[in-house]
């Protein structure tokens, strides 16, 4: 516990904040790619103490938020399939699909179970041999090793009633898509901490090398984020974009080989549909042919109609960093955490929810 509190000490933050204020960079926009960072930045009040010329914007790093309506509708259809128990993470339940949310489906009496880990979903499969357990797998590289482990475990335990509906996505193709669109000016990137613990800090080297954008991998404590921001401003000040790893206590240059190998063993790349971005090639994880028995897409014939998003919702633009949550006409009025129109207002890591919960007094 004392290790954690030492990262929250205000005395240690002060000199870093002073240095940030002295950095002579001109106007800069720093984007955090990770939803966990978005929340941590709002909770710690970092935005409120930044100098006026440093603008912090959120990127497409909330896994619930980038899940497209079409994929949500597929989850709803799976949950309504006779004999199926759909297991998923709690954040997913309240996100409205094109017609209804999983929570509404659950209220109608269909079996939707909140699980805290993929192993809970396996336990469900063991406890209900007469049912089909489908795990609706969302998330980025951080959660993918657990999904891979579940499939490998299911195979070794010979569980025949467990399958995965994978809508898992990879952050690097997402980041490349965002930068290639060129809609939003990004001068520096706070790199995701837990994603990088799996794929390694070096995976982000393309940002300085190809785009000339400095990147600092950060942890989730206040001091981590301040140190990462300071490192980024330092690189901008010196005109030397590079990769900094300010979360080296967790993130290694090469990541977690064993975890990533498990992901490679079970999954292959495929095109994935991202809310706000459309289809991005090679940005999703699909089960390999060898694991077809555990692939819900192959086991169940689910067809869903093309799914439009709510006409007033601007989650897509928010996810691309083009619009800030308050730019959206329905923010805080028709769209609130109690009655969300889009996922960014639902997920605990969504930008709209973070704005609403922590910063709406400054609008």
């Amino acid at each position: 516990m004392s290790i954690i509190s030492s990262f929250r000490e205000s005395a240690r933050a002060k000199p870093i904040i002073e240095r940030i204020h002295k950095r002579d960079t001109g106007p800069v926009s720093i984007m955090e790619f990770c939803g966990g960072h978005t929340v941590a930045i709002f909770r710690s009040g970092i935005r409120t103490i930044m100098p006026a010329h440093v603008r912090m914007i959120s990127g497409p790093g909330c896994p619930v938020c980038v899940t497209s309506n079409g994929d949500l509708d597929r989850a709803v259809a799976l949950a309504k399939t006779p004999g199926v128990i759909l297991a998923t993470y709690g954040d997913m339940l309240r996100v409205p699909g094109s017609e209804e949310s999983l929570m509404q489906v659950k209220a109608q009496g269909y079996a939707v179970e909140i699980v805290y880990s993929t192993l809970d979903a396996l336990a469900l499969a063991e406890a209900h041999p007469e049912k089909e357990i489908v795990f609706f797998a969302i998330g980025f590289e951080t959660t993918s090793p657990a999904a891979a482990a579940a499939v490998l475990q299911a195979r070794s335990r010979e569980l025949r009633n467990f399958s995965l509906c994978s809508v898992m996505k990879l952050t690097i193709p997402g980041a490349r898509a965002l930068l290639s669109m060129g809609e939003v000016k990004v001068d520096a990137v706070i790199g995701p901490g837990h994603v990088s613990s799996i794929i390694g800090a070096d995976a982000w080297r393309f940002l300085p090398d190809e785009y000339g954008i400095p990147v600092a991998i950060s942890g989730f404590e206040t001091l981590d984020l301040l140190a990462a921001t300071d490192a980024l401003l330092g690189m901008i000040e010196e005109g030397k974009p590079d990769l900094a790893n300010t979360y080296s206590r967790i993130v290694k240059p090469g990541g977690n080989r064993k975890a990533w190998d498990a992901v490679q063993q079970v999954f292959e790349l495929r095109e994935a549909s991202w809310r706000g971005f459309g289809n991005i090639p090679d940005s999703g994880l699909a089960l390999r042919e060898e694991f077809a028995d555990y692939d819900a897409d192959r086991r169940f014939d689910i067809q869903v109609a093309p799914a439009p998003e709510h006409p007033a919702c601007r989650c897509g633009e928010v996810l691309r960093g083009v619009a800030m949550p308050p730019d959206c006409k329905v923010f805080g009025s028709a769209c609130t955490p109690e009655h969300p129109l889009g996922p960014c207002m639902v997920s605990s890591e969504g930008s709209c929810a973070a704005y609403f919960h922590y910063q709406r007094h400054q609008l």
Partner: protein
């Protein structure tokens, strides 16, 4: 009891129900009011305004580190009276038991209720028991109501907070929530966190001895400190500013919350109060609170402000600010 489990017949009104009352409830709750065996308790009226409250307890699991549903049901209702400045004079206990409930568990809960009521010096003056079919409730639900007397000159009201008032808390934040959550999820921590369930009417009486000029008292139970402060900010149409560095959050609670993705400010407390009172009395009241075991950890956490009515904001550890919102929906653990 000769039966090891509660049967439907224990609620039938027949001889088995009388056995249950005679062998389990009466020996534990024994007092002159119950001994009369009437359909109601008749209490003396010591004069003054009467406070009356009711609350139902459905906590799951019913046994958790530091207590059971039994203590909660006693302390919770006493505390609801105390938050109006009232001194409790009697409680009712209504139990709804699920068919199949272990008799040992029921007897343990009843013993603990008796102990909690004795320690608080508040008699259980009337009661009722029903048994429902298996699946119609979860083991045991308890409703307690309470009556108390509000002393002359005491006007405590959620709408009475004034700009400039100090915001005090009587001790650490989040213990009960973590205790229940860890039991529910089967988690064990190096430093076990136990529920803070306790009655607060003596602490309130002591505070009122220092000054009757206390504007608001609230126990931050379900929804936690954040939700309770938001309720006060809305009722009193004022702003509240708290300081992150002043919040008494035990390291074990912080650690458990980090692990589970929870925020201590939204966790239930069952033996703590928030007090809002004029700044000029704050130091004297704090000193008196700290002299009592219930208030040993009392401290100041913020102040009432005139701007941003209805909004609770926090000065963060690094000097930034953010809103402390009400809880929306259930607290969910993080997913990555």
């Amino acid at each position: 009891m000769k039966h090891k489990q509660i049967l439907l017949a224990h609620g039938s009104g027949g001889s088995m129900m009388h056995d249950l009352i005679r062998e389990v409830f009466l020996p534990a709750f024994d007092n002159p009011f119950l001994r009369q065996g009437n359909d109601q308790a008749v209490l003396d009226n010591p004069g003054g305004r009467i406070a009356f409250t009711t609350d139902s307890y459905v906590v799951q699991p019913v046994v958790f580190p530091g207590g059971t549903i039994g203590e909660l049901a006693i302390h919770g209702t006493i505390n609801d009276l105390a938050m109006g400045g009232a001194q409790p004079i009697g409680l009712s206990v209504g139990m709804i038991l699920e068919e199949g409930l272990e008799m040992d568990l029921l007897e343990d809960i009843v013993r603990r209720m008796k102990r909690a009521a004795d320690e608080a010096g508040v008699p259980i003056v009337t009661g009722d028991t029903k048994v429902v079919e298996r699946g119609s409730c979860d083991k045991i639900f308890i409703n307690t109501s309470g009556i108390g007397i509000v002393p002359e000159g005491v006007v405590i009201d959620g709408a009475a907070a004034k700009a400039g008032d100090a915001v005090l808390i009587s001790g650490s934040i989040g213990d009960h929530g973590v205790a229940v959550m860890s039991e529910r999820k089967g988690l064990r921590f190096d430093t076990p966190v136990t529920s803070d369930t306790q009655s607060l009417h003596r602490l309130v009486a002591r505070m009122l001895e220092v000054t009757k000029d206390i504007h608001v008292l609230r126990d931050p139970t379900r929804g936690g400190v954040a939700t309770t402060l938001n309720e006060i900010a809305m009722q009193s149409r004022c702003g509240i500013e708290i300081e992150e560095e002043l919040l008494p959050i035990p390291p074990a609670v912080t650690g458990a919350c980090d692990l589970l993705g929870l925020d201590p400010l939204y966790l239930a407390n069952e033996g703590k109060l928030l007090a809002i009172l004029p700044e000029e009395h704050a130091d004297a009241v704090l000193t008196a609170m700290r002299a009592m075991p219930e208030g040993a950890g009392a401290c100041r956490i913020g102040r009432i402000v005139a701007d941003m009515p209805g909004i609770v904001r926090m000065k963060t550890g690094i000097g930034g600010t953010r809103i402390v919102n009400v809880l929306t929906g259930e607290m969910l653990p993080r997913i990555c």
